[in-house]
Each structure stands twice: as C-alpha cells, then as structure tokens.
C-alpha cells in the first residue's frame, strides 16, 4: 500500500458494517478471503496499483469504508477476471471491485478522473445514438480531458481505412435505449 491510510484504525472503524454492505451488494463474504495474494500475483494491472487486490479485500475485512472508496484500484481494474478465475476460495474479486467502483462514483469520492470521465462519455454516446460513436467519443474525451492531441496521429489513417465513420450510426427505436438508461440509473433503488 503506497498510499498512506488517512483513517485512524480504532475500535469504531473496525466494527463498521462495510463488509455487510459489500456482502449485500455483491454477494461476496469478504471474510472468506484468507489473504493468500494470488489475486495480486496475477493482476494484469498490478504494476499500476497502489492498493493491491488482496489489500482491497483487507480494507473490507477491516471495514475501512472511506479508504476503500477512495482507492484508485477499482478504477484501474481492467475487469479481466483473472483474480476471480484463480481465487482458491472462489471469491468473485472482480465483482467486488466493480461494486466498490459504483459506490465510489455514487458518492463522488476522489477517483481516477479519466476513467470515470471515459465511462460517462461512453454511456452518453450510446444513450444518444443507441450505438457507439467512436470518433465522437474520442474527440469529446480528449477535449474534456484536456489532451486534445492524444492519439491524433491515429485518426487520419483510421478514417482513411474506413474504420472511423464521421457520423454516428443511429438506431431506429431510440426510445428503447432512453428507457433503459432512465429506468436503471434513475431508479431509487440505486446500485443493485
């Protein structure tokens, strides 16, 4: 753990019910984790992490909610599922990461800006068109992320090769996708 923990670990922090919250949302009992580290060992993005996956599990075990929700790890997770596949205790670690990420977004904790921005723009794009408009997505992301020239060398040949269309593809029944977005995101029930 490269990052310094901000929370003082005390009796009160330890008896919080974060582990129960995770259990309800992801059906994972964090206490099944015996901290073997196999998830960390196989993690594709291990080089880029501050908290390793097993440390994330530990944060849940110790009910350190703020620390877990402020971690960058869930945002850097590539959802490759290697951890889940190899976990000797059959814990769905990828699902836990996903759950923490959703919680963190919901509560607007500090996180990896680019990743959440990308997700947001991506979803906006399909919400508007029903399908992904890649040129629009990249352009908007680069502008919003203040990296306007990122990957710009790729664009011309992509367009030339016919791989990037200049106009979005639109589906006919766009109500359908609007409904799905509205109903699932604006649901009072929230995450699950």
């Amino acid at each position: 753990m490269k990052r310094k923990l901000e929370t003082q670990i005390t009796l009160n922090t330890l008896i919080d019910s974060f582990s129960n919250e995770i259990k309800t949302l992801s059906k994972v009992n964090a206490y099944e984790c015996y901290q073997c580290g196999k998830c960390t060992a196989g993690c594709s993005v291990g080089d880029f992490l501050e908290e390793t996956p097993n440390q994330m599990m530990r944060l849940i075990q110790l009910n350190l909610r703020d620390e877990a929700l402020n971690s960058k790890t869930p945002f850097l997770c590539a959802t490759c599922n290697t951890c889940t596949a190899r976990c000797p205790m059959d814990i769905d670690i990828a699902k836990v990461m996903e759950t923490i990420r959703i919680l963190s977004e919901k509560e607007k904790k500090k996180n990896v800006k680019e990743v959440s921005k990308f997700s947001k723009i991506f979803l906006d794009s399909i919400k508007n068109h029903g399908r992904l408009f890649e040129l629009g997505l990249t352009a908007r992301f680069n502008i919003e992320n203040k990296t306007p020239f990122k990957d710009s060398e790729l664009a011309p040949s992509l367009i030339f090769k016919g791989k990037l269309s200049l106009l979005p593809q639109k589906i006919k029944n766009r109500k359908r996708i609007k409904k799905i977005f509205d109903n699932s995101i604006n649901e009072k029930k929230g995450v699950e």
């Binding site: 594709s44 993005v45 080089d47 880029f48 850097l76 590539a78 959802t79 490759c80 599922n81 290697t82 889940t84 596949a85 769905d92 990828a94 996903e98 990420r101 959703i102 977004e105 990896v112 680019e114 990743v115 921005k117 990308f118 997700s119 947001k120 991506f122 979803l123 399909i126 029903g130 399908r131 992904l132 890649e134 990249t138 992301f141 992320n145 990122k150 990957d151 790729l154 040949s157 992509l158 090769k161 016919g162 791989k163 990037l164 269309s165 593809q169 589906i171 006919k172 029944n173 359908r176 996708i177 409904k179 799905i180 977005f181 109903n183 699932s184 995101i185 649901e187 995450v191 699950e192």
Partner: protein, 300 residues
C-alpha cells in the same frame, strides 16, 4: 436452429474487417446468419462498472429483440459483446427477482430464452472443425500463428465455458485445421488492457508490449484474435509501443476469420487485409499465402 447475428458497435466501425471477413467465411461455408435488426450497444465495460442493472439491461434488451425476431441462438463475433450477453443471461436466469427488475427496466416482458454463442464456439461445436478442414482450398502452410484469446472468451469460466480457462485450444484447433502452425505460447489469456485504451493508454501499452514480446519469443509470424478491442490495442498501438519502449515489433494482428478466409480462397481485398496498421500483406506474400486467383474465386 435459427441463428441471429450480433455484430456489435466495433464491427461496424474500427473492426470493419472482422465483419467483412466473417461474412466472407460464412458465405463460403454456406452458413446462414441473419443480423438482429435494430440492435443496440451491449454497454461494454463502462455500463456494468457504472451500474449493475444497466450492465445487465442493455445486453438483455438485445436478447429480447432477438427473441422477438424469432431467433433461438445468437452468434456474436465480438468477444466483449459475447461476454456481456452471456453474463446478463446468466445473472437473469439465476434469479427471478433480477429478471423482474430487468423486465421493468426494458419495459418489455419478453422471455429471452436464447442460447448465446461466440463465433469460435459456433465453429467448434456447431459447425465442426473437420468441416472447416475439408473446405480449405489454400492451406496456410508454414504460417506460425499465436492464437490470442484474451480475457473475455474464457473468463469467468462458470459463465463462458466453451473452452479451458487457463489453456484454451479452440482457436488453435481452427488454426491447425486451416493448415497453419498453432503455437503453444505463454500469453494466450493474458489481458491487453481492454477498455483502458483511451483513458489509461499507458496501461494498455505496457500490457500489449508484454504480449507482443511473448509472441515474438515463441517466434510467431502473426497473432490471431477474435476480439475487436484486443485487435485495436495490439495493432493500432503497436507503433506507439515501439516508440515508448524502443522496441521493433512488426507483428501483424489478424482476425481469425481473416485467416480462415485466406484458407478458404479469398484474397486480400475480400478480407480487407489492407486496413490494418501493421501490414500483414507483406508477410503473407512472402509466405506465398495470398490466393492468386482471388477474383475468379469471388465470382465462383
């Protein structure tokens, strides 16, 4: 069997050649797929990492569409779409509560009892490797192919389970069937960085570098893929990788259907081989693997 075809967003844009080559292979093998009409995006990674329900509802809505259009099986060539469709189907079959919730979201009560196949899974289990073998006109003799499966075709194994999750072989079987050498290499199922391509490019560059290095170590001529994102990361960014790490990779990345197309007698243009960033045509010409009579074949 009434097969529906779900290309997904990428196959209509950055992975056009995957779509083109798939269609070519299917027409040569007399496989009849019908594209699901008015399909929508499966939501990919951003949807399920933003909202569980959204991540399930988007793919499920497509399954409902397919069911309404009378399909009983859905074939997806894109590994990401396939994975999301499978996960959604799995979760919803598991719990009636979830199903009701998703029905609420899509405002559609259609029961989508549809089996979902990846294109490779279709070739292996439904169509048959032997059938492919017997249709080969231009065996790709001497081409050393490292089959790259990535994450989404094999994991999580309780949901996508047509192949071994640690040592998958279905793509290799196809590679062998079309006369090429299937290499047993170390990074078959390692991750390429996937959706981090745009927001966290540095991750993708490093992971892809390792992949390309492993392929080179096993002296592969090219890498075969079945996922548009894997392709984009390995092909489009190969130059960036070389710049960043000072490497000299020049490994063409080909869709498995492009290789199949070659073996079935199609030429470079039929399979849109020129649309890659790392040019495969030189390699294939050197190995004398591009059919000469491509136009005649097409007319046949």
């Amino acid at each position: 069997m009434n097969y529906g075809y779900f290309p997904g967003c990428s196959l209509h844009s950055t992975a056009r050649e995957f779509n083109i080559s798939t269609k070519a292979v299917c027409s040569s093998l007399k496989i009849n797929f019908t594209e699901v009409e008015d399909w929508i995006c499966c939501g990919a990674t951003p949807a399920h990492t933003t909202n569980h329900d959204l991540g399930l509802a988007l793919p499920y809505s497509n399954l409902q569409l397919a069911a309404q259009q009378g399909f009983d099986t859905l074939v997806a060539p894109c590994a990401a779409c396939y994975n999301r469709l499978k996960v959604s189907d799995f979760e919803i079959r598991k719990s009636d509560e979830k199903k009701n919730r998703i029905h609420e979201i899509t405002e559609d009560k259609t029961e989508a009892d549809i089996s979902i196949l990846h294109l490779i899974e279709f070739f292996k289990n439904d169509f048959g490797i032997e059938e492919i073998k017997s249709a080969v006109k231009n065996p790709l003799v001497g081409l050393r192919v490292a089959s790259y499966y990535g994450c989404l075709l094999v994991r999580p194994n309780e949901i996508v389970n047509f192949d071994d999750e640690e040592n998958p072989t279905s793509m290799d079987e196809i590679v062998s069937a079309i006369g090429a050498d299937a290499l047993d290499w170390s990074h078959k199922t390692e991750c390429c960085g996937a959706a981090h391509a745009i927001p966290k490019t540095e991750i993708v560059l490093q992971l892809c570098k390792k992949l390309l290095q492993a392929a080179e170590n096993s002296s592969a001529d090219c890498i075969a893929v079945a996922c548009p994102l894997c392709h984009a990361n390995l092909d489009m960014r190969q130059n960036q990788i070389n710049k960043t790490f000072g490497t000299k990779f020049n490994t063409p990345i080909l869709y498995i259907t492009q290789l199949m197309g070659l073996a079935l007698g199609y030429g470079a243009n039929d399979l849109s081989l020129q649309s890659h960033f790392v040019d495969p045509i030189k390699l294939l010409t050197r190995k004398n693997l591009i059919p000469q009579l491509e136009k005649m074949n097409r007319e046949n």
